[in-house]
């Protein structure tokens, strides 16, 4: 049973890392500010979500698992709000190219 959990962890965490790489590459190569913002927030939120999902079976105490989920939800909330703010600033400072 624990082997199954380990395999699940390995798969989920590596998928999360792949999404992180996609986010960073998207941040570098996309042409426009807003497309970069899209790539950044989509990728690292999903990346972090998969990493947290992969880490859940590894935690000894249920409290740690709850804290992992709370951390991910907080990042979702913060990242969503901040992306809107950054997009507003980007839209306000330079006219639509």
């Amino acid at each position: 049973m624990s082997l199954l959990l380990d395999i699940f962890t390995v798969v989920a965490v590596s998928l999360g890392a792949v999404f992180f790489l996609a986010g960073a590459v998207g941040l570098l190569r996309f042409p426009d500010t807003l497309t970069r913002l899209h790539a950044l927030t989509k990728a690292d939120n999903v990346g972090l979500g998969l990493i947290v999902l992969g880490l859940l079976p590894q935690t000894e105490r249920p409290l740690a698992a709850v804290k992992l989920i709370v951390a991910w939800l907080l990042v979702q909330l913060a990242s969503g709000t901040v992306s809107q703010l950054i997009a507003r600033t980007a839209r306000r400072t330079e006219p639509p190219a």
């Binding site: 999360g16 992180f20 986010g23 913002l37 950044l40 901040v82 997009a87």
Partner: protein
């Protein structure tokens, strides 16, 4: 398993370092602000992986704190970048 988690943590940090190049090249201020956002999230992921790998419950609390700091950093940037002349609607008479 522990080595794997540490290896993925190192990989995530390397990816974030790759993303920081945007700070050097970014034409607009908003682009430069995205890299610290990615650094915050990447740092949180690495901290969570470290906490799970070494079995330290404290690392998850540090990750929670870093989440707040990353959010405040971006909000500070937005407040700084918006023209001070035009007061925010909710600020009322605040300078």
């Amino acid at each position: 398993m522990t080595e794997f988690l540490l290896a993925v943590g190192a990989f995530v940090l390397a990816t974030v370092a790759l993303g920081l190049i945007r700070v050097l090249r970014g034409p607009a201020d908003a682009d430069r602000m995205m890299a610290p956002q990615l650094l915050g999230t990447g740092g949180i992921a690495a901290l969570l992986l470290l906490g799970a790998a070494t079995g330290m419950p404290g690392a998850i609390d540090v990750a929670l704190t870093l989440t707040l700091l990353a959010a405040f950093a971006s909000v500070a940037f937005v407040k700084g970048a918006s023209e001070p002349a035009e007061p925010e609607p909710d600020e009322g008479g605040g300078g």
